[in-house]
């Protein structure tokens, strides 16, 4: 107890009593001990020569990579276009699948909480928890390399994310508006179209541009495993150590990301 009575009747107050103080110190001690131990383990399995050498190598690569090979841009237009398409089509496909999933998962719209809702939640969790690169590897094994595999990988990866945010929005709607529409004698679908959809439109638009923004970034790396887009050029250039090309590609990716960031900020601003 922080407040203690001492002999002369005054009260003293301390943040922790003696036992709490001891555990506090003991946990700090244990924490430091674990840190030191882990550091030793890491140190043993690291070739320190490479680490000490790293700044020199990095500097070396930087000099080789500058200036970027500007005219290589002519070979990049198509991959850039592919990358944008993968992100955009993937997001659209994901939204088409995420909307019904969200309605099935939301507690106030699901037709059955016992069977259908858990299935919808399972879809959400499983698609969300696997990285799009891994989806791409799987899909390439199934449908072969190319842009289509990229679109599907992005779409599958995004379903869970979009559906989760959407179903949370559905669960937070104002139920009174739904009741008012129900009371007019509207059918189930009309209640959905009039009572629920207008309320979740801002969330829907926000989720769509947010996910599109993320997918632009994700689709730039899909090419590394052969799923189309600018990543393909990146891995090819890395393999032949063509550093000036690599630096140009990185600049292009940076610009694309900034652009998507700007667009989604504008759109979100317009909605709210």
């Amino acid at each position: 107890m922080p407040v203690e009575q001492i002999a002369d009747g005054r009260k003293v107050w301390q943040k922790r009593n003696r036992r709490e103080q001891l555990t506090h110190w003991a946990s700090w001690f244990a924490g430091v001990a674990v840190f030191v131990y882990c550091w030793q383990q890491i140190s043993e399995s690291t070739t320190w020569f490479f680490v000490w050498d790293a700044p020199r190598i990095a500097g070396d690569i930087l000099t080789r990579a500058t200036p970027p090979k500007w005219f290589y841009i002519n070979e990049l237009w198509e991959p850039i276009w592919d990358t944008l398409n993968i992100a955009t089509l993937g997001t659209l496909l994901a939204l088409c699948l995420a909307v019904p999933t969200a309605f099935l998962a939301a507690r106030n719209t699901t037709p059955s909480t016992m069977i259908i809702r858990p299935i919808a939640l399972l879809i959400i969790v499983s698609t969300r928890s696997i990285n799009s690169l891994i989806w791409a590897l799987l899909l390439i094994a199934i449908i072969g390399p190319g842009v289509f595999a990229g679109v599907l990988a992005i779409a599958i990866r995004s379903i869970g994310f979009c559906a989760k945010l959407l179903y949370e929005a559905i669960e937070e709607i104002d139920q009174k508006q739904v009741e008012a529409i129900t009371a007019t004698g509207a059918s189930r679908w009309q209640v959905m179209a009039y009572g629920i959809v207008p309320q979740i439109m801002p969330a829907f638009a926000g989720v769509a541009v947010f996910r599109w923004d993320i997918n632009i970034r994700e689709s730039t790396v899909l090419g590394l495993v052969g799923a189309g887009g600018i990543g393909l050029q990146l891995s090819a250039s890395l393999n032949v150590l063509a550093w000036p090309q690599v630096s140009l590609i990185l600049i292009v990716i940076l610009l694309a990301v900034i652009l998507s960031e700007w667009v989604s900020a504008k759109v979100r601003g317009a909605i709210i």
Binding site: D174, K176, Q177, E179, A180, I181, T182, A183, T184, G185, A186, S187, W189, Q190, A193, Y194, G195, P198, Q199, M201, P202
Partner: protein, 284 residues
């Protein structure tokens, strides 16, 4: 208790229609939490009669009107609307009967992100198919009626505004239009004025009663404000702990009756006197 026709009131029904519209038979509602919100309530409401339902909060007023259109499923008893038992209906039958019961809510319950016109037209959802309503292709007669109603409540200029741009009183007027465009025989009104200032409250109550009068509608109006209820209705029902404790004309609301419904208080100031009423009528 028996209801005697009132002698004269500001919002009386001149019609002598005593045909029965709504009849509740031992209506009981026990919520899953165990709350006995209604205990065997029986009531008869003739066509065209405006009834105020008063009672302390938690008395079961909202539950009562929600059981009538089955937004809340009654546990026991019957709701007969023109001798059709609402409690027995399948979901499509229930939708058909709901068209005949317009509902008006305390916090308006407009779809905030839709326009005033869309909100009014949503009262026709029970009559038009899904795709027509989805594409906003309502029959011209519905649109004409919507404009007529908006004009009647003084909101014609607001038709294209979004509902969340309106003031409380304006929103409630839109709510009234939405209920009336259903072409109902009965209005279920849940505390229409609880979120409004005193002046707007009176205007809204007057509007509801005038419209009921014009269209020969019956209405059940839940209301906190006893004086406001007395000003406008022909019959008052007092609810307490889920059962009816008073049923009679507004003039019969004595301090004793109010004590029975609400508990011990000095009720003298709450009850309207006739001379006051005349003075107000003159001002209005």
């Amino acid at each position: 208790m028996h209801w005697a026709p009132p002698v004269s009131f500001p919002c009386p029904s001149e019609r002598k229609e005593n045909a029965l519209l709504l009849s509740l038979k031992s209506l009981t509602k026990t919520y899953r939490t165990g709350d006995k919100a209604l205990v065997s309530v029986s009531l008869d409401i003739p066509k065209g009669q405006v009834v105020a339902l008063i009672g302390p909060s938690g008395a079961g007023k909202s539950t009562l009107i929600r059981c009538i259109n089955r937004l809340v499923e009654p546990t026991e008893g019957q709701v007969l609307l023109d001798s059709v038992d609402i409690t027995e209906l399948s979901s499509s039958g229930l939708r058909r009967e709901r068209r005949r019961m317009g509902m008006i809510f305390q916090e308006y319950a407009l779809v905030e992100r839709l326009t005033v016109m869309e909100n009014v037209l949503s009262g026709r959802l029970g009559y038009v198919g899904f795709w027509r309503s989805f594409l906003r292709k309502y029959p011209q007669s519905d649109v004409d009626e919507a404009f007529r109603l908006l004009d009647r409540v003084g909101l014609l200029a607001m038709a294209d505004k979004r509902a969340d741009e309106l003031s409380g009183g304006q929103r409630q007027r839109v709510g009234i239009c939405r209920a009336l465009i259903q072409n109902p025989s009965l209005l279920l009104v849940d505390e229409p004025t609880a979120s409004l200032d005193p002046k707007t409250s009176r205007q809204i109550m007057r509007l509801i009663c005038e419209l009921c009068e014009e269209r020969g509608l019956a209405a059940i109006i839940n209301i906190h404000d006893v004086a406001l209820a007395q000003m406008f209705v022909q019959r008052v029902i007092g609810l307490q702990s889920g059962s009816v404790r008073f049923d009679g004309p507004p003039t019969a609301l004595t301090p004793d009756v109010l004590t029975e419904i609400y508990g011990e208080e000095d009720w003298q100031a709450t009850i309207r006197k006739d001379d006051e009423e005349d003075a107000e009528a003159a001002v209005a």
